[in-house]
């Protein structure tokens, strides 16, 4: 009994920091202009504007997740064969990149690709095509990729390190090329971990606000920006509508997480395929 009391601070923190805000979001989301109703939800779901914001956000998140995973896999495979020094440097660099988001990232992107950015001017001076508007979905995608690739590399590297070298050697003795080995064995072997990391990346992108707001303001319609303008908007403010959108965002995030848990659970019934005494 005594020992259980030790968990009390954790439970209190969980209640105060998660349960309380979450329940207030849920309760308030059903409060439409003073009445208890689904009014906020019907408004969000029937509004072309908010539909568009969800579609834009899903699209950017999915695209940058795929880009992040693909580059992350290639980098993790490349790093696997490198010495410890290179790997430590790359991972330190990756963890910096993964956390380099928000205003500093937006500023960096603007300095490089903005109207008077280094590359924009360089490309213009050289008379090359390729200048683009950084304050757009393309700019946002580039900004997201910056931390998505870094985060993917950071998370995928240990997963790829766990593939036993012997398996790779067995394949190479059979005459299987490295590319074919990773395509047919290495990556499928790690499918579950890769899916889990992809979901994390996806959630990461869906919830990004600071980078988006600092780079494109309200000109690109993504969900987090829509929520923020409802909460602190100067034209019209409707915090309860924002609550409803937040909850819908949470549901969108929960769908892939639960789906992957179910898939993982089914696989685990047979025993973990990646476990076994393969070191």
């Amino acid at each position: 009994m005594r020992m259980r009391l030790l968990a009390l601070p954790l439970i209190v923190a969980f209640a105060v920091l998660i349960l309380w805000p979450l329940s207030s979001v849920v309760i308030d989301s059903f409060d439409a202009k003073g009445e208890v109703s689904f009014g906020n939800y019907t408004e969000v779901l029937s509004s072309a504007y908010y539909q568009q914001s969800f579609i834009t956000t899903l699209w950017i998140s999915a695209l940058t997740t795929v880009i992040g995973i693909v580059f992350g896999i290639l980098l993790a495979i490349a790093l696997r064969a490198r010495g410890r020094g290179v790997r430590r440097f790359a991972l330190a660099f990756g963890s910096m990149g993964a956390n380099f988001a928000g205003v500093p990232l937006a500023m960096a992107i603007i300095i490089l690709f903005g109207m008077n950015g280094f590359f924009t001017i360089l490309v213009g001076k050289l008379g090359l095509p390729g200048a683009f508007n950084v304050y757009s979905i393309i700019g946002l995608t580039i900004a997201y990729c910056y931390f998505q690739i870094a985060l993917a590399t950071l998370l995928l590297t240990p997963a790829f390190d766990a593939v036993p070298v012997e398996i790779e050697e067995a394949a190479s003795l059979m005459g299987v090329s490295s590319a074919r080995f990773w395509a047919r064995i290495g990556v499928p072997m790690l499918a579950r971990q890769i899916v889990a990391i992809a979901i994390l990346l996806f959630a990461n992108a869906m919830g990004t606000f600071a980078t988006t707001f600092a780079l494109t303001g309200t000109s690109v319609n993504v969900v987090t920006v829509a929520i923020s303008s409802l909460v602190s908007g100067d034209i019209f403010s409707d915090p309860n509508l924002a609550n409803a959108i937040s909850l819908l965002l949470l549901i969108v995030l929960l769908v892939p997480i639960i789906a992957s848990q179910i898939i993982a659970g089914e696989k685990r019934l047979g025993k973990d395929p990646s476990a076994g005494p393969q070191r």
Binding site: S172, L173, G175, V176, A275
Partner: protein, 344 residues
């Protein structure tokens, strides 16, 4: 005639010398064992043959080809690893077929070869299972089948039985021997287990500190070790210095000698007198006292104190034969020819 020839192969890792001028030739169809304590370089030698480690010097020839400068896949060598190294996302059948598909064989040909090889290791029933559904012994049979199906010019086995428990290890050892004999595949097996080496090998190379200490048939290695290292590493014999031999038998030898425990026989128990001098028929008799008795499966191991020396003596463990208790005075008989002087 030599099929695999290893000439002056060396390997270094940083300042450490892992292999120090290895010379070895192996005949076609031979099962050759590399035996040695861990860190002796046996695995490095195997990996150098496979091309997974680049030796720093020397030459390796397989058949009439020089292979040490070829990439692993062009050497025609298959390898079985200690921890199976099966492809976990593929079924047993797919594991076997993967290498064949690489060779661009027709689908029917692949299926025929896979089925034939699975039959050889008695795993037809498990063809559609994945590695994690199999026991350790079955996994290693799949790994063996995966190597055999490619019909390699040389099969390398890196401690293939060490990850298995005793019973399965023994059964798989016999099966490995049968399959190797049937296929006639030239094989090199690395192990640190001398029982495994002596039962499986046509010839055994005992390695120590990056060198081959001795190569010979299991009988030669066991009964006629040509160095103190081999004598100490193989079996569990009585390794005695010249002085000790003289004290025990009255014979002066030119160097240390080994007496195998089973060559010391109990001649009479209690009250018998010991003869110091060699008997006319070349037998030596020594009196001693039993100080320890332990049962190890088919044999009983005794420690006998004689002339201030503790001797290991082994006798067959039969149900009807009386076990000697500690404190019993015994007379041991030894043939002169069973004292093997180890050349230094």
């Amino acid at each position: 005639m030599s099929y695999l020839t290893i000439a002056n192969v060396s390997a270094t890792y940083g300042a450490m010398t892992i292999l120090d001028g290895i010379e070895l030739s192996i005949g076609q169809g031979e099962m050759h064992i590399l035996l040695g304590p861990s860190g002796c370089g046996k695995t490095t030698l195997l990996r150098s043959i496979a091309g997974l480690t680049a030796p720093s010097g020397g030459e390796i020839r397989l058949g009439d080809r020089r292979i040490d400068n070829l990439p692993p896949k062009e050497r025609g060598i298959a390898m079985v690893f200690q921890h199976y190294a099966l492809f976990p996302n593929m079924t047993v059948r797919q594991n076997l077929a993967f290498g064949l598909e690489q060779k661009r064989l027709s689908r029917a040909e692949v299926a025929r070869k896979v089925d034939a090889t699975l039959a050889m290791v008695a795993l037809e029933q498990r063809a559609d299972m994945r590695p994690h559904q199999l026991s350790g012994g079955q996994r290693q049979r799949v790994a063996l089948a995966r190597a055999l199906v490619l019909e390699p010019a040389l099969l390398l086995l890196d401690e293939p039985l060490s990850a298995l428990d005793a019973q399965i290890r023994k059964r798989l050892r016999d099966e490995l021997k049968r399959i190797q004999r049937e296929s006639g595949l030239t094989s090199i097996l690395v192990t640190h287990d001398q029982d495994e080496a002596l039962t499986l090998g046509d010839r055994v190379s005992v390695m120590n500190a990056g060198r081959i200490a001795q190569t010979g048939t299991p009988r030669e290695i066991y009964h006629r070790p040509d160095s103190l290292f081999v004598a100490g590493f193989i079996g569990d014999g009585n390794l005695l210095t010249p002085d000790e031999i003289e004290r025990l038998t009255g014979i002066r030898t030119s160097g240390s000698a080994i007496i195998q425990p089973q060559d010391l026989r109990f001649e009479s128990v209690n009250g018998a007198t010991a003869t110091m001098a060699p008997a006319p028929d070349g037998e030596i008799h020594v009196q001693g006292v039993v100080t320890d008795v332990s049962l190890s499966g088919p044999t009983i191991r005794y420690l006998v104190e004689a002339k201030g020396l503790t001797l290991k003596v082994e006798a067959p463990n039969r149900y009807d034969s009386a076990e000697l208790s500690t404190g019993t005075t015994v007379r041991l008989a030894l043939r002169k020819g069973d004292i093997h002087v180890v050349p230094n």
